[in-house]
Structure formats: C-alpha cells, structure tokens
Symmetry: C2
Subunit: 245 residues, 2 copies
C-alpha cells in the first residue's frame, strides 16, 4: 500500500517567531501536528470520530532533523503521511519544505492509541489507520532512545497553568519545548542553531503540577548536545536530546 500524502501551505507570522526571527520550536511541531489533524479530518477519521469510538491518539516520540528553521513571513509547504503501523505503534512522517521544494525540516513521529475506558494503550484499530494508506508491518520499528542526564547543569520549576492545556486536555507541545529550552540562557539561544531534537513523552502532567526542567550541556568539537528531563516529582514526564551548532 502507498501512504497518502497530505499537503498544505503556511505563512509564518510574527507571533510564531522569537527574537532570532525564526519560528519557535514548539510552534513548528504544532504546525506539523495540525497538518496530521487536517489529514485525519479530510479522511473522515478526525478527533471526534476517534474519541467517539472511545480512543485518543497519543504521541510517544518525535525525532526532528532541521536543515533551516522557517523564518518570519516565509511561506512554506507542510506535508505528512502515515508511513506504517504494527500491533501497537503508528509511524508518521512529516516535512516542511521551502517554496522551491528544498527540505527545511523532517520529523518522524510515533503514535499509540489510548483506550479512554482504562487509560491504557490499545491495539491499533484497523478502521482508524487503513484510510491513511499506511503499510502494516509485523516489525516493531524503533527510534533511538534519548540519552539520560548524568549531571544537572541548570534547572527551573514551572507550575502547569490553565492556558498550558489545550482542548484535548493535554499540555500543548509549545509549553514542553519552552520549559526545556528555558533552562538555556539568552546568549546560548540567540547564538546557537538547533539541528536535531529527539523527544520522548513518558507520562502526562496535569493542571497545578509543579514540574522541574533539568538540563545537561555537553560540548564536543563542533556540536553541542543538550540533554533535557522534565520531571513531575520523581516521575519523568518528558526526555529530550538536542544537537546545536
């Protein structure tokens, strides 16, 4: 089977960018997630349909490769396709290209299906995946795990706010990325460029929780790696590994 590819255009606007005039990372991921929602709606298996059957799609991992971040006022092409799936996991590919079709960003994402009744991971329901044209495969594809922090170079605390939670009752992507990157200072964030992000979501946080965002900064010859862990008391909520130049 050949995966159906969904395409849309987007112009980056001022409130989606930061002082570097490039798009904010959380917003970048939100735009790609919106494209996948739009494809689902187009195929008649949007959020209402999925929720109506007692399920919800949950993301466990994003792997991003960034050639160049889209900049303010730039028009870009966003595409997505549901590549393959097995008993428990769906693999979706995303891309952002400039208007001359040069690749700017690639993202590989793992989705699982949560059963609302028992709040547990469900087997993939065929009618929710077949319309995408995704290939079924017995193999469990894995993405690289995020390296664990060994030493904490900086940390900050945040309380989960009403406005951090979107209409799906999830903390929106933007806020996770902001919590993680805010442990790096202005000098670091304005002088370095993100090239890769590998992020794993482990456990949800809810309204009022106080999360701690920890970072370890590892310098090597020509790249800097930052390791991030967002913790809710002792439970890890989210881990990420970023590469910068």
């Amino acid at each position: 089977m050949v995966a159906k590819r969904y395409n849309e255009k987007h112009r980056v606007v001022f409130y989606e960018t930061d002082v570097t005039k490039n798009i904010n990372i959380g917003m970048l991921v939100d735009l790609m997630m919106l494209a996948s929602e739009n494809q689902s709606e187009q195929l008649g298996i949007g959020t209402d349909k999925v929720n109506g059957l007692g399920y919800g799609w949950v993301i466990t991992q994003h792997v991003l490769e960034i050639e160049r971040l889209p900049k303010i006022n730039e028009e870009v092409k966003i595409w997505t396709e549901a590549d393959s799936y097995n008993k428990y996991f769906c693999y979706r590919e995303f891309g952002i290209d400039d208007m001359d079709d040069n690749p700017l960003v690639r993202m590989h994402t793992i989705f699982v299906l949560m059963d609302f009744k028992n709040r547990k991971i469900s087997q993939i329901v065929p009618e929710l995946i077949i319309p995408f044209g995704a290939t079924e495969t017995p193999k469990v594809k894995r993405y690289k795990n995020v390296k664990k922090i060994k030493e904490i170079d900086n940390h900050k605390k945040y309380q989960v706010r009403f406005m951090d939670i979107d209409s799906n009752h999830h903390v929106n992507n933007v806020h996770y990325f902001d919590w993680m990157l805010d442990t790096l200072d202005y000098d670091f964030l304005s002088k370095h460029t993100l090239k890769k992000i590998n992020i794993q979501y482990k456990q949800e946080v809810t309204y009022g929780d106080i999360v701690t965002s920890n970072v370890q900064i590892i310098n090597s010859n020509d790249t800097i790696t930052t390791l991030h862990a967002v913790k809710n008391n002792d439970k890890v909520s989210c881990l990420a590994e970023c590469e910068w130049i």
Copy 2:
C-alpha cells in the same frame, strides 16, 4: 476621509484554544494585531518601512467587548480599520464576526509612534497614517482608565523568558494575558465567561525581569470584575480590568 477596512478569514485551530474549546485570549488579540500588520503591508507601510524611518508602533491600550469567543475549528471573519488620529495617538477598530456576520468580538486600540533614537513617543508621521484613510481630528479621544487594585487577593511571579519575546523584541500579548489570568484558578476560568477587557500597557519588561502578577476579585450581583496589575519591581508594566459572567 473614510477609513479603509481590511478583511481576512481565519479558522481557529486546536493549539489556539484552551480546555473550554474557546480561543485563548492572548491568541485572540494576536490574530487582530496580525490583521493590522497585514493591512499595513498591503498599503506599503509595514514594519520594515516604519522601522526603516526610525520608528515603531507601540500599543498603549486595548478595550475588548466579547459577545462570544470563537471556538475550535470555527471559521471567522476578522476586520480592522484605522479610524482616526491626532498629534500623538492613532485609534484603530477591530472586529471578529461569525460567517453569518454576527459580531463576536470588538476591540478598540490606541497606538503611538516610538522614535527609536531617543526611545520616546514621537508626533504621528503623516506618511505612516494617511494611506489607511484615517481621519485627522484635533480632539484627544480617551478610553476609560483601568481601575487600580486596592487589595491583592492572589499573586504569582514569572521570569521573562527568551520565548516570551517576539521578533519585535516585545513580550508577546499572549504572555501578558497568561500572566494576568493565571492568578485565577481552574474552577474560575472554566466556569466564567469573559465579557470585557480594558488593558493599559505602561512600561516594557525585558528578558530576565521577574514580574509579579496581582489580582483583586470583586463580586457584584450578576458580574464579577477582576483587576490585574503586572509589576516589575515597583514599576507597573500593565494594568487590566476584566468583566466576567
């Protein structure tokens, strides 16, 4: 002279909404500000042109009247026009209507022109306002001042982050509204509906500043008024008065 009206459409998407499935207030204001930026670009007097002449537009006050907040997936019509101006102030009107032209939101905004050389308010420069078709008036129109807080019922502290600042080096609207409303709890925010906001910007905050967001909650018969003050040490950065039902 008749003010030129600029129109555009927008579909509210998931990451613009909160758990109520309505649009986030800061995002609502951002969308209207974007419409005014788009009109400026269309008339050849966009940010680059204004900055190139050594100036920047700065907002001193927004007054919002909310009939109903746009909801997730809803398509709305956004319009704006530069109504009138005098020696120092420009008055701009905004509206959001549903697709049947029922008014959802009205916003009245005062802009001033800042001279980048001395960081002071400049007289309005005719070439930056005439293309909008705004009417010059000798009268200084005023909007109601925001009532001052007398007792602090709750307060929270925030440190201004890298990602709070947009490409214009200003703290984005979203964050001011989030700081102010986060002093109200989940129960309040999920059960009450915003009907009016009067917000006055007094003094900018910059990266690293620690701001305190104070609130006073005043119950009367059928409305609740909340008074807000965002302070940077002893300096007031922003005041707001909200009416809820």
